[in-house]
Assembly symmetry: C2
Homo-oligomer: 445 residues x 2
């Protein structure tokens, strides 16, 4: 068996440090991080200690905060303190929230004074705000500086590579008046002033703003970093593109979970306890089943009709499924368009008009297919009931699916909660009323 | 009325160029782009022509390819050709796919020879491949160069700022052996060799690889650019972080659409014709309704049972909704965990065990709540039927929701197609069988 085919787990269990080291040398930092989290918590320290210093840091930074915490606990106190001192202030702030309070105190105490100050400052901002994720270290320049002076300042600042990709330009009150790209400083002739190289658009974000707003701005404006400012536009730090991408991934995960009808998990799936998984789903499942009691009432109300023509019962699942699907299609499109900023509240009339027509077209299509097929087994009258119910339900569901996310936003609720399960449950009760009213009218019950 | 409260549309209709220009001066490029697309196609050229050159380019780049195409058509030939020459080769390639063939020929002919060459090369790679999105312009350096020489090469290359944030390090066969960050070159002492500044991990992506793979690598490894190579590891271009973020947003939109049970729209919602919207949904709606015919058959099979205890019909929607919700919750969590790489095929046994337990817990909770409530109105025996059906359906739905995305992946299908609507429809038919079998057993029918 060659080293390639062995997993990290087998290598760790095999207790052969040479083979283990050979394996670690072959793998990239991302791959090592990925395999590391698949080991039992207490096994992770062994391969980690075998890594050279710079690679160990790269692997550590590739882990998410939960796994970083577990690894810190598995490492001895000295190793942990050292590692903690090397990572970025914003990563440190996130990590501090994960570890128990006593460990947090020890770790913070182990830092040199200036790093401690940075981490503490980040911890003062509200959760999910830009302040929590920004890097409090930056190199700002002045419009009047020459490119050569600005580059000299970057050299002196001693910052990490990603903290100087874009430099905020400030005035003498430390207010952000623009940004300049490091490459533009490098390629300009040394005497050019920073003012001449400043980007035409000034972008910045308030420190207490939702982190998603900052991250989306980085994405839309194609920035590599975004200046973070206080209420008076004074520079506090920068939000770097790698942090922006991480925020967007987290927010996308939240939206995906909500769309599936559950509360977002805050930890990786395989790390979550079964009880936590159940709790995240229980709330919505309960809300939805209580809403579904409506359908029992509606059917109870029409029990006589049902007794007279029992065949009506056979089509209940098919009709409500189709309504739910049509509604969730409409809601999905509208929610996504809102998330990426293509659609806003003022577009409501246009959206409703479109969804009405789309629903009508889809309902017509399904109705026209259903009538001949159903009439073979159940007769023409009955087939007309099914066909026209499909038409009305599709139109109604599509309309509601387009309307509800916008209503949610108007009420200040995240539109993503209008998930497929929510729409389905709401459309079901109304769909059944439509079904039985049509049946009574057409069949003359 | 001040300029603030006027929309771009009102300003354009008002035909007062001074006010319009004042408004344009006040707004950022992103805001202008956003308002521009809300105008009728033919009105867009007017405000656009009033913008100074560099701002016009920024606004144009903030539009997506569909809107860029429409604007090019609204502008005169000369303006369009000029604008087309100024944008990036990769944006050009995307735009060329949107415009009609005759316009494409004219636009390509208007380019200087070297830009044309770049655009044509990009067009040769398969759709959605890294090759289509990469920037074919880069500045590569050698390990043996000094930092000063490398910076001199960056200065001579005359590239855009984002193309030189990270420099590929190549050997004498143009093979990528590493990367170096521009800031590290800037801050190093001039005599340091590039080799000493090279990142410890070598990242690159093959030109024919799926663009999402490249974009996710940029995200996970916190890169600002990723070297793109051919089958022999030779450098062809770089995938920059702004393009990677755009790819991820597109892919997330696709996944969100699939999760809602429809084919992804390729154009912004408000731009799509109603027919296109309907077509994107029709396929899935048809597939799902055909699957739902199963439920009609199941109910037909149990028609006698239903006739005997009509009350059973009243709970059909509630039970199948709950099964569908529970299944879609499980599928959502598993699909998302697969998308972000937390879970893979080999985790199948663990996932199934967890989903089985979670489903059981949720089913127990719902069952325990349901029995006393239902027994008040329908008697204890009937309540036991509903309670135990909830227990079994939740467990079964949760298990299937965890299983199906992994089965899809094993079969080479995008796991995202196992959407809430698909799970719901599949779980419905089996859920009904469970319901009636339990009813027969408990009620002794």
């Amino acid at each position: 068996m060659t080293t390639d085919t062995l997993t990290l787990q087998q290598l760790v269990r095999g207790q052969d440090p040479h083979r283990l080291r050979a394996w670690l040398d072959e793998q990239g930092a991302l791959d090592i991080a990925e395999e590391l989290v698949r080991l039992e918590d207490e096994d992770r320290a062994v391969p980690f200690r075998l890594l050279p210093k710079d690679r160990a840091l790269a692997v550590f930074e590739a882990l998410d905060p939960i796994h970083q915490k577990e690894l810190l606990e598995a490492l001895g106190e000295i190793d942990a303190d050292q590692l903690f001192g090397q990572i970025d202030a914003d990563d440190r702030a996130r990590l501090i929230e994960e570890v128990p309070a006593t460990v947090a105190r020890r770790l913070l105490a182990s830092l040199p004074a200036d790093s401690r100050d940075n981490t503490n400052r980040l911890l003062g901002y509200p959760e999910e705000s830009v302040g929590r994720t920004m890097s409090p270290r930056y190199a700002s320049v002045r419009s009047t500086m020459t490119a050569a002076d600005a580059l000299a300042k970057v050299r002196r600042a001693g910052l990490r590579s990603r903290e100087v990709l874009l430099l905020p330009v400030t005035d003498d009150q430390r207010r952000v008046v623009g940004t300049v790209d490091l490459p533009d400083l490098v390629t300009a002739s040394p005497g050019t002033t920073v003012g001449e190289l400043t980007r035409p658009d000034v972008y910045s974000v308030r420190v207490d703003e939702d982190q998603e707003v900052g991250a989306r701005l980085v994405q839309e404006a194609d920035l590599v970093a975004l200046p973070v400012v206080d209420t008076e536009d004074r520079l506090l730090g920068v939000l770097t593109v790698d942090d922006a991408m991480e925020i967007i991934e987290l927010e996308e995960t939240e939206d995906a979970m909500r769309a599936g009808g559950l509360e977002p998990l805050d930890v990786p799936y395989l790390e979550a306890t079964v009880l936590r998984l159940a709790r995240k789903r229980a709330v919505w499942l309960l809300v939805l089943i209580i809403a579904a009691v409506l359908t029992v009432n509606v059917l109870g109300f029409f029990e006589d009709t049902l007794e007279e023509v029992l065949a009506l019962a056979l089509f209940i699942p098919l009709l409500i499924d189709t309504g739910g699907n049509s509604g969730s299609q409409a809601a999905t499109v509208v929610i996504r368009s809102m998330a990426v900023g293509e659609v806003r509240l003022s577009d409501l009339p246009r959206i409703l008009r479109r969804e009405l027509v789309v629903g009508l077209l889809l309902g017509l299509m399904l109705g026209i297919i259903a009538v001949p097929v159903v009439s073979i087994f159940f007769g023409l009258d009955f087939a007309l009931v099914i066909g026209s119910t499909l038409l009305v339900i599709c139109t109604w569901a599509s309309f509601s699916g387009g309307l509800l996310p916008l209503v949610a936003q108007r009420l200040g609720v995240d539109p993503a909660v209008v998930s497929a399960p929510v729409i389905t449950t709401l459309v079901d009760a109304t769909g059944l009323i439509i079904y039985f009213l049509i049946a009574r009218a057409v069949l003359g019950i």
